[in-house]
Symmetry: C2
Amino acid sequence: MSPGGRRPGDSGTRDAILDAARSGFARAGYDATTIRGVAREAGVDPALVHHFFGSKEAMFTAALSLPLQPGEVVPALLAGGTEGLGERLVLLFLSLWDSPATREPLLGLIRSAVSHERAAAMLREFLTAEVLGRVASALDVPDAALRANLVGSQMIGLAMLRYVIEVEPLASAEHAAIVAAVGPTVQRYLTGDLT
Amino acid sequence: MSPGGRRPGDSGTRDAILDAARSGFARAGYDATTIRGVAREAGVDPALVHHFFGSKEAMFTAALSLPLQPGEVVPALLAGGTEGLGERLVLLFLSLWDSPATREPLLGLIRSAVSHERAAAMLREFLTAEVLGRVASALDVPDAALRANLVGSQMIGLAMLRYVIEVEPLASAEHAAIVAAVGPTVQRYLTGDLT
């Protein structure tokens, strides 16, 4: 640790790392931001960043207050097998968005990606690095990256109509009705015939 | 026409009406804005607004530079019958978004709806008044409004991933591949079993 640098016990250390991470991701995007670079900007040892967050992905989701990490969610969803995967994914998505505490950061991410090219690039790089590869290697199907894109398109569109534009009757529909309608779409995108 | 008001021949008359319409829609939303109110704000006779635009819907799409009117598009798409309707809708949507001239206003509409609650309300009211009812009465199926919502969710999500966040491989995918993947989703939302 550099002389005068922060130490693990400092109450503000974790916050300082998160500030440096937010600023780095916003400026340089996901790919070009490193744990080493964030540590340097926060004035701490890289080992300390690893200690707090363990990975760049975890640092990113903490910096943006995102309610989950793809590295944890994707394996958990796939552990139940591919049958009913579409329905489980839609239900998880609805439960995250229907809780105000987790909805706000997700909404913030969509808002910045729509308004700022750099935020869109950051989200694109994050999805490519942390989500698409995981889904592709977990599903033994052709065109896995395109399939993950298609699932993402249906999920983001659902969020847009239900939570952003709030069109009825979708905005007030029960989870069960949405799962019945959208679950088979997601299932086909993941495992069905797309040609 | 009021004394000193604008006349049909004035070169700036149509622009003045569009300015008043944009301001009215942004301030009061779609439902509460009337041709009469826009005419008053623009200092012209309501008959002149009818002469230029014919309907509130046409005034709205002209004010926002939208490339089409639901009142024209929905009947045209449905005239081909329900078979293949999903694929035709996806192809029309892609052709609008892949032309920069029509993409920009659509992107502007999404950006404002995501950033401003009033713009979201305006878009919600417009979709409810001009799109959902038309689809509902054209399709002889139960839950037509929810079906139209679901189609909208897949279409907006496709635009978000392909044109806003620009995730690969979806951003560079050929129309034929997207139509093959997404067409059946839209077809099922419109005419299939959603329970």
